[in-house]
């Protein structure tokens, strides 16, 4: 896994609430057997019209907005457990998703793929949206070691991140690396269940 530490970028706003994983990547694009290539179908049915033309009003088709940070309305990633949603976001180039609320499985999937989900308050989210609205090129910075999301327009948010997952992101290792080292404990647990 790629390490995630610090980044500064402009942000893409998607203020809709309850964006489910079927919107992030519709089921008909889940037929792949590798993790690559899902980015081209990210938000597929919002991005393209029926005629497969780019939908004019959708933010990913608007050249004014770009960047590695996606800012979304509350309850982002609800619905299916498909990790393809995280792969699609990562493949498209997003490294950070900011929302006031994340669905549980999505959050875990994101962290397992080097995407940092940052939970902010409702008011903070509104402030971020309004900064982007005022200036689509507004820059935002993420400092994972210090758990801080900020910019030079007065934004300063300290965010929570699970201590163990933070270590994983900072060092680029994953749960399997960790678990494989615990084989003896796991076997001991199994033995204990037998008695």
């Amino acid at each position: 896994m790629e390490k995630v530490i610090n980044l500064t970028s402009s942000a893409v706003p998607l203020p809709m609430e309850d964006i489910d994983t079927d919107q992030i990547i519709p089921a008909r694009f889940l037929k792949g057997i590798s993790k690559d290539g899902f980015g081209k179908n990210l938000f597929r049915d919002w991005r393209y019209t029926k005629g497969e033309e780019k939908a004019k009003n959708f933010v990913l088709n608007n050249p004014t907005y770009s960047g590695q940070i996606l800012v979304a309305g509350r309850n982002f990633g609800c619905g299916s457990s498909r990790e393809h949603a995280a792969w699609a976001l990562a493949d498209y180039g997003f490294k950070v998703v900011v929302s006031s609320f994340f669905a549980d499985i999505f959050k875990e999937n994101a962290l397992n793929n080097g995407i940092l989900p940052i939970t902010v308050s409702h008011d903070q989210l509104a402030a971020i949206f309004s900064q982007i609205e005022k200036d689509p090129h507004s820059q935002f910075s993420v400092d994972l070691p210090n758990q801080s999301f900020y910019n030079d327009q007065g934004l300063h948010i300290s965010f929570e991140v699970d201590a163990y997952k933070k270590e994983c992101l900072l060092n680029g290792y994953d749960d399997i690396d960790y678990l494989l080292n615990l084989k003896e404990d796991i076997i001991a647990y199994e033995k204990k269940q037998l008695v």
Partner: protein, 463 residues
């Protein structure tokens, strides 16, 4: 075994802790793992790359369900990508020696239907699958939840996950259900009351007389849609019904060993003075047959209600997508498709309920009706009971098992702009096909709509 007052969840969780790790997470042992073709290929690929084998082969079971045709399952899959995905599962199961109930196998079916049916799903266990509706298994009093593909790989490699303990919530529903109101209506009602993110961060236990009076099938329908409120999972304490259901199932031992197991199961209940982080209750009498009007399962209402007003942009977008307006009733609205299936409502009891209602009736000319059984066993049982004949006479098409139009990965899709009343669990935009409009309801409500060609109040058809 257990000390101070504990919830059912706490008892199972604490007996599965392998290790506490710095930062507050815990390594949790997983008893059973179900896999399917869509969320497993990348996990196996990862293991091949790392050169690791499946750690406990007998604790994993595979089936093909999400991306399989529901017609002519004996023929090679036509669509190339789908064929490749199903073939990859077959190959991976062969390479890693994992048992597979693939296409054509008499035990094949939707993963959450076959687990209970085989008796693998048992009280007190931890069960995972790369699918959010794994919560279904919780109806038997276990901790069952959906995981992502990275976690599938972790479980395959080590039989463990590194988790933070969710908060505990109890939802109590007491009282007697009205005529025409089913388990599906209870859960759609709870979805509407608690909203789509209302239980995020919690693991839910369902309790109360309206819950315990349900059959195991009904309980599975309830637990199934826990995830629709954002819950990590749902569970119901085991009782005599649970034991009766499991007795004699293929994976359940018999004789003295069974009695021993039952004694073990009986330890799993919430102590009278155990405390939940959140405790809510509802009255069964308040629940009517439900329908959804929007594009998430929390946007549901009683069939006699009118579509409410909503302020957010998302709410407006949702009604626009459905082409419905605030203040409208859904009663009398035309539908073109009826889908009876999915891990929410495709068990034999659902099919019996539908058959019982449609016997002697025929479907409206203007609708297509698809019935997709949850498993080969359900299919065989339906045929043995002659339900297939009833469906045929009514003009309902009985297909072969799979997820089908629940997620529209195969060719069973609803065309853009058309309406489908569906017994599945998600009415998200495009869920049943690009542009498809889904109304979630119970099998009874779906059957009545099939006959009338429009949404009706089932209560008016029952005497």
């Amino acid at each position: 075994m257990f000390k101070k007052a504990q919830t059912l969840f706490d008892k199972i969780w604490s007996s599965h802790i392998v290790k506490d790790i710095p930062g507050g997470r815990q390594v949790i042992y997983i008893d059973n793992h179900f896999i399917h073709e869509v969320t497993s290929p990348q996990a196996f690929a990862g293991m091949k790359k790392r050169g690791i084998d499946v750690f406990r082969k007998h604790q994993t079971l595979a089936t093909a369900d999400h991306n399989v045709p529901t017609k002519d399952q004996h023929l090679p899959i036509k669509e190339a990508l789908s064929k490749k995905q199903v073939d990859t599962l077959v190959q991976n199961c062969k390479d890693f020696e994992v048992e597979l109930y693939g296409l054509g196998h008499q035990r094949q079916g939707i993963v959450h239907v076959i687990g209970p049916e085989l008796g693998i799903t048992q009280p007190g266990k931890t069960i995972v699958c790369g699918d959010s509706h794994t919560s279904t298994h919780g109806a038997f009093g276990n901790i069952a939840f959906g995981i992502g593909t990275s976690q599938v790989e972790q479980v395959l490699s080590t039989q463990c996950l590194i988790l933070s303990k969710p908060k505990r919530m109890r939802i109590t529903v007491n009282g007697q259900l009205q005529k025409g109101v089913t388990a599906k209506d209870i859960i759609l009602y709870l979805n509407a009351q608690l909203t789509v993110g209302g239980c995020t961060g919690y693991f839910v236990e369902y309790a109360g007389s309206a819950i315990t009076s349900l059959s195991m099938e009904g309980r599975m329908t309830i637990c199934n849609m826990s995830i629709e409120m954002g819950a990590r999972g749902g569970m119901i304490a085991p009782d005599e019904k649970t034991i009766d259901y499991l007795r004699g199932k293929p994976a359940v031992p018999t004789g003295e060993q069974f009695e021993k197991l039952v004694n073990h199961w009986k330890k799993f209940y919430t102590d009278a003075d155990a405390v939940f982080d959140k405790d809510v209750s509802f009255n069964a009498e308040d629940i009517a047959p439900m329908v959804t009007y929007g594009t998430n399962p929390g946007m549901g209402m009683s069939i006699s209600d009118l579509i409410p007003n909503g302020e957010s942009e998302s709410f407006a977008e949702s009604l626009k997508y459905m082409d419905y307006k605030s203040g409208e009733s859904l009663e009398g609205k035309a539908i073109q498709h009826v889908f009876i299936g999915s891990c929410t409502n495709s068990r034999i009891e659902d099919l019996r309920l539908v058959a019982n209602f449609v016997k002697g009736k025929t479907k409206s000319q203007s609708v297509n009706v698809l019935i997709v059984p949850g498993s080969k066993q359900v299919e065989a049982q339906a045929k043995a009971e002659g339900l297939d004949k009833i469906f045929e006479a009514a003009g309902f098409e009985l297909r072969q098992p799979g997820c089908s139009a629940c997620l529209g990965m195969n060719e069973d899709k609803v065309p853009a702009g058309e309406y489908c009343i569906s017994t599945s669990n998600r009415n998200f935009e495009g869920r049943q096909g690009p542009g498809a409009r889904t109304i979630l309801a119970s099998p009874l409500m779906a059957a009545a709509a099939a006959i009338e060609g429009k949404i009706v109040d089932i209560r008016k058809y029952l005497n």
